[in-house]
């Protein structure tokens, strides 16, 4: 029977399938960070269990680490304790930790691919919902809770129910200044924040095939924002080219063997899906969210819907029918596992070049990893950002979830390249508008939500 790629990867990882029980499902790569792991390590100790295969796990610190220029660790005691705990736990259980200043620290979903750990056909989990990012390589990657983090540590497996599958086709051509971020925001606005609940998405079509790995990661990253368990893209030559030569990638004969296997990971002709969604992208403008969930997105040329949710309007202090362009911003955040890779910073730098940050606007540019930071500096992007009056910081999750000191103050409005505009996400009472890096840069230099195409 013809199978799609999701079903193929699923079938490959079922260890035990017994009536009356969920399937025992094998996990190949386990990514670990400081916030959702301490209680799981504690569970191992309590139950006297060892780590199943510590060589299939890699840890880093990202969620609460300081991103200040001369950072020490984290600024608050709780965060410091979590980081210290992770260091101790990794040493005790033999897990490799990509610590600060190792040259490899960064947002867990940025460093996995960067190190060549993320590979086609594998299953990846992390105690973080944006684990779906790794799907860009044709991996089945999803977020789990801390109890399940403990299960994977101890057994390398999870109990899972088979997901439904959804095919998403982006139909048409990407217009000027329309980015991967705009496409995924468009999908979420079309099907809503629970539109893909219970599904794993395969993103298909020529538009996706033409995308770089960075762009594919942005798309897969936000799969969770329409409720999907995961999102993936079948691997192709773009994938292999990205992976070749990366630290943890195979070499020589092993590489050839791997590529042969990876090439088999595509949906068969005639494979079926539980649902198919087409997203028309011809003629679309860059997207911006207006409300307090990622499904409340509109084109920058548009207006807030007449029937917009009153609670959302009240929180974001905007009116139904109001044009989104021209809304003034106080903060701009360029970063997060959605948009903090080198290509995102390069694109933003193009807008900042020969311009200044608008008066009164505070701009945080937070690279996704130490490696991204190093490369950005070698290209002089830091000079462009700092020359424009933006702050170029150390890598971490930063203002995306505002766990560390990087917060948007109460009542302030932020143009953000992150993934969630939830109530208080970027700080107590903060208002968030999600958009692409070039749109965020445009907001930074004009001080308001601006159609970036006007700056070309």
């Amino acid at each position: 029977m013809a199978r799609n790629i999701i079903q193929k990867i699923w079938d490959e990882h079922v260890v035990v399938s017994k009536d009356g029980f969920p399937d025992v499902f094998a996990i190949d790569l386990h990514l670990i960070h400081e916030v959702t792991s301490p209680q799981a390590f504690e569970m191992l100790r309590e139950k006297g269990l060892r780590f199943h295969v510590s060589g299939r796990a890699v840890a880093t610190i990202d969620h609460n680490v300081s991103t200040a220029v001369n950072r020490k660790i984290a600024t608050d005691v709780g965060s410091q304790k979590q980081i210290t705990a992770l260091r101790g736990n990794c040493a005790e259980f033999g897990v490799k930790l990509m610590d600060m200043d190792s040259g490899r620290q960064g947002i867990v979903h940025v460093i996995g691919p960067e190190l060549g750990l993320t590979q086609p056909g594998i299953t990846v989990v992390c105690g973080d919902s944006h684990t779906s990012t790794h799907g860009a390589f044709g991996a089945l990657a999803f977020g789990i809770g801390t109890t399940e983090v403990g299960h994977v540590m101890a057994t390398g497996c999870l109990l899972q129910e088979k997901p439904k599958t959804m095919k998403v086709n982006f139909v048409g051509r990407m217009g000027e200044c329309v980015t991967a971020k705009d496409l995924i925001l468009k999908l979420i606005s079309q099907i809503g924040v629970s539109g893909a609940r219970g599904y794993v998405i395969e993103y298909c079509g020529e538009v996706v095939r033409a995308m770089s790995m960075d762009e594919r990661m942005t798309i897969c990253n936000m799969s969770i924002e329409c409720g999907a368990r995961a999102g993936l893209i079948a691997p192709d030559s773009v994938t292999f080219e990205y992976m070749m030569g990366r630290e943890c990638a195979p070499v020589g004969e092993k590489w050839n063997e791997a590529v042969k296997y990876w090439k088999s990971l595509r949906s068969d002709d005639g494979a079926e899906y539980d649902r198919v969604v087409d997203v028309e992208i011809d003629g679309m403008a860059p997207m911006v969210t207006w409300g307090f969930n990622p499904g409340q997105g509109i084109e920058v040329t548009g207006s807030i819907p007449k029937d917009a949710d009153a609670q959302a309007l009240d929180y974001v202090r905007l009116k139904a029918g109001q044009a989104i362009e021209g809304v003034t911003v106080d903060y701009v955040f360029i970063g997060s596992c959605t948009n903090a890779r080198l290509s995102d910073l390069r694109a933003a730098a193009e807008i900042f070049k020969n311009r200044k940050v608008a008066k009164g606007v505070i701009v945080y540019i937070v690279p996704g990893s130490e490696d991204v930071m190093k490369q950005a500096k070698s290209e002089g992007l830091d000079q462009i950002f700092e020359g424009a009056g933006a702050l170029f910081r150390n890598p971490g999750c930063s203002m995306c979830l505002a766990m560390n000191e990087d917060k948007v103050p109460e009542g302030k409005r932020c143009a953000s390249t992150s993934n969630r505009n939830f109530v208080g996400r970027q700080g107590k009472g903060a208002i968030t508008h999600l958009m692409s890096p070039i749109m965020a840069a445009a907001a930074a230099v004009t001080g308001k939500i601006t159609d970036v195409r006007k700056l070309l």
Binding site: E161, R229, E247
Partner: protein
């Protein structure tokens, strides 16, 4: 958990409640599972004086009733820990996010999916009578309003998950019991894993 939970409800007539709302990131800097209850819905409790979690009359409610897609967003299990620590044992909604649903079950919180019209009917009942008591029978898989004719609804639950809740069992027990199979699988499957962490 107990097979019968009888309690008044905490009505939360709002859709798409995300886990950032249930427990903001500020409170995730803990290495423990306990003590998060006092911060549950911290943002909304601060913003809205009459938010249900602020009202005395709902303080001992063990059953939270809410609208669709409850627990969406972040995978933080702290959301389930916070609700549990507050005293919530059952959440009733027309739908849940996949991750929250799984996290709830693993912490002795029963997530019950009821049709939207039933949930709305419970809200109306609560409003009309200024309070609504429900009885949840996990063994029989029934939610009912005690003493009310026709005031009941059946719910579905996976038989394995039901067993886990009733016996306070964790997936770990079953997984560990399958260790032989897992190790056999590992040997065969190793051929399809090409990343190497030793180089790091």
């Amino acid at each position: 958990m107990k097979n019968i939970i009888k309690s008044k409800i905490m009505p939360l007539p709002r859709a798409d409640i995300d886990t950032d709302l249930i427990i903001p990131a500020d409170f995730l800097t803990t290495t423990d599972k306990k003590g998060l209850g006092e911060h549950v819905f911290a943002r909304l409790r601060m913003m809205e004086g009459n938010f249900p979690f602020n009202l005395k009359k709902y303080r001992d409610a063990k059953i939270l009733v809410t609208r669709k897609n409850f627990g969406c967003g972040s995978s933080r299990e702290h959301a389930a820990w916070a609700l549990k620590d507050w005293g919530i044992e059952v959440v009733i909604a027309p739908s849940f996010s996949d991750i929250f649903f799984s996290n709830a079950m693993k912490n002795g919180i029963l997530p019950i999916i009821l049709e939207e019209k039933v949930v709305e009917w419970i809200f109306e009942e609560e409003k009309e009578k200024n309070g609504c008591e429900l009885e949840v029978d996990l063994v029989k898989q029934i939610v009912k309003i005690p003493g009310k004719k026709d005031g009941f609804a059946m719910f579905a639950i996976d038989s394995y998950r039901k067993e886990c809740l009733l016996k306070d069992m964790d997936d770990m027990d079953y997984l560990v019991s399958q260790m032989n199979e897992i190790e056999k699988f590992d040997k065969k499957h190793a051929a399809n894993i090409f990343f190497d962490t030793k180089v790091l």
